[in-house]
């Protein structure tokens, strides 16, 4: 991992749809080298996948998301890892983290509607072994995701010429 790799990662994180040619121009690398480096970063799982930041509220499909916090009794030898692995297999779980504070694990869960989310939590998550307590927070509105704010900034006036 060198400066050029970091350049590639920053560029792709912002816009993964740029062509290797465009990236090559920005980084002063040959196109083939850009492709090789990106492939290596993919193989090393530094690049996990290429996804899209979507403002679902604007898409208007009515999906509901919630943040679920869990108190978990850790397992001898495994800590939280095994239960986290089990939870991560559910399609509904979009993100999962071990956190400090009152709760141990924090999940983001998405479902078609409120019923689906609550059914998932009460039928699949809460009854799992070692989970002692759950707290469900329905997301009412999302203002910023993955560094992208969902606000439209007004255009500001800029001089056309300025020496």
């Amino acid at each position: 991992m060198d400066e050029k790799d970091l350049d590639l990662l920053r560029i792709l994180e912002e816009n993964s749809r740029l062509s290797a040619e465009e990236i090559a121009m920005m980084t002063n690398l040959e196109k083939a080298e850009v492709e090789d480096r990106i492939r290596a970063l993919e193989v090393a799982q530094v690049i996990k996948c290429y996804s899209t930041v979507i403002n679902w509220e604007r898409a208007g499909n009515g999906e509901v998301s919630a943040i679920i916090e869990l108190k978990v009794s850790p397992e001898r030898d495994f800590g939280y890892d095994r239960i986290a692995e089990r939870l991560s297999r559910f399609r509904q779980v979009r993100s999962l983290r071990l956190i400090t504070g009152t709760y141990d694990l924090q999940l983001t869960v998405t479902g078609k509607n409120m019923q689906e989310v609550s059914r998932f939590v009460s039928e699949h998550v809460a009854p799992m072994d070692r989970i002692r307590e759950t707290a469900t927070h329905i997301i009412m509105k999302s203002y910023k995701e993955n560094g992208n704010a969902f606000f439209e900034q007004p255009e500001t006036e800029r001089l056309p010429y300025c020496p």
Partner: protein, 385 residues
């Protein structure tokens, strides 16, 4: 009625981009590479601290020199980043942008008849400020062959008994040239041998892409005869805040301070509060903007060379300075036709003085998308020639 305008005001040349301004106002869908300012907004932490200060009633004059907290923070910052040592009590003045710092620096040192050497191509204010102070600006030409660095031989040719000072600006607007420590050493000897003063405008110091900026006052024995100018506009995207600063040995600083207190009193306090926050917490934001400029530069300069406008790689600031000589058009003709025919605004190099002719200044402080579109339009234009 008499003509009330002073001879000095009459002597200053009108702005070389006035007519472009008028043209562009009547047009739509123009991509402007003509603006010498960041396209980013000021980082929010800076804005937020200034808004909070206003809410708390921080709206008064400050000390003439500027807020003590800002001068203390700057003094530490300059020492850490550039190995520049200036006392926050006696050697730093906070000004209303580098523009004011430049004016008071020149007025503090120029007597009628003094010659001031001005490295060109250079920012458009240096010559007129010297004229307004009663001095005579003397251009020193920097050429493409030297990558637009200041060549000691060219400097030596222009030095006379009347020469009092030299004004330089590296990283340079409009060429993007930088001067390394060894480049500066070659010039330092001449400055010292001829007992000149150096005014070094280092407002683009944070925007270097290959090497770290070398502050002129750290080279050889230059410190005692150097006035360093810098500001927050370019590095922190704070052009409208108007916060610059002047650093110089006490005697020079005291002279500049007298002028500053009569003409400006102090720099705006909200801007000064923002500047404190910039030094305290905006390093990350600054670095990510610099990184983005570097990527754009690589892309844009490669693009210019590809479409047939030869361009050296600018190592600093956010300007590319391609040559249009091969097209057979003058820089002014090229810029005017490019604007009218393809709606891309660039500044003709001759606006920046001797050595700028035959070149265009293209500011790449615009989004990559706009840069790509500008390149397409420029290529289209070249195809019609």
């Amino acid at each position: 009625m008499r003509n009330f305008t002073s001879v000095r005001a009459q002597e200053i040349p009108p702005s070389g981009i006035r007519k472009f301004f008028d043209l562009v106002l009547a047009m739509e869908d123009v991509i402007s590479l003509g603006v010498g300012e960041p396209d980013f907004r000021t980082p929010w932490n800076i804005c937020e601290s200034s808004i909070y200060a206003i809410e708390q009633g921080v709206t008064s004059y400050t000390s003439n020199k500027g807020l003590q907290t800002l001068r203390d923070a700057l003094s530490r910052y300059l020492a850490q980043h550039y190995n520049l040592n200036y006392s926050s009590d006696h050697e730093i003045i906070i000004t209303s942008g580098v523009s004011e710092a430049l004016d008071i620096a020149i007025r503090a040192i120029v007597d009628p008849g003094d010659e001031v050497l001005v490295a060109q191509p250079g920012y458009v204010s240096y010559g007129p400020c010297v004229t307004l102070a009663g001095g005579k600006p003397v251009p020193v030409r920097c050429v493409e062959k030297d990558h637009f660095k200041l060549n000691p031989d060219s400097l030596a040719e222009q030095i006379t008994k009347k020469s009092k000072a030299l004004i330089i600006n590296f990283p340079n607007n409009p060429t993007g040239a930088v001067m390394t420590e060894s480049d500066l050493k070659a010039v330092a000897d001449l400055i010292i041998d001829h007992d000149l003063l150096l005014i070094s405008d280092e407002v683009y110091a944070e925007l270097t892409y290959e090497t770290r900026h070398c502050a002129a006052a750290t080279v050889g024995a230059l410190r005692e005869r150097t006035i360093t100018l810098n500001g927050f506009s370019k590095a922190y995207a704070m052009t409208g805040w108007r916060i610059g600063y002047l650093c110089a040995p006490r005697e020079l600083c005291d002279a500049a301070l007298k002028i500053h207190q009569y003409v400006m009193l102090c720099a705006p306090v909200m801007g000064q509060v923002g500047a404190v926050e910039a030094l305290r917490s905006a390093e990350e934001e600054k670095n990510s903007m610099v990184n983005e400029y570097r990527l754009r530069r690589n892309m844009f300069v490669a693009g210019l060379n590809r479409i047939g406008l030869p361009c050296h790689v600018p190592e600093g600031a956010f300007y590319a300075f391609p040559s249009v000589e091969k097209t057979g058009l003058s820089d002014v003709e090229f810029a005017e036709r490019l604007l009218k025919e393809q709606r891309v605004a660039v500044v003709p190099g001759s606006v920046f003085g001797s050595g700028g002719e035959g070149h265009l200044r293209c500011a790449y402080a615009v989004s990559r998308k706009e840069l790509n579109e500008a390149l397409l339009r420029m290529e289209e234009f070249l195809n019609t020639l």
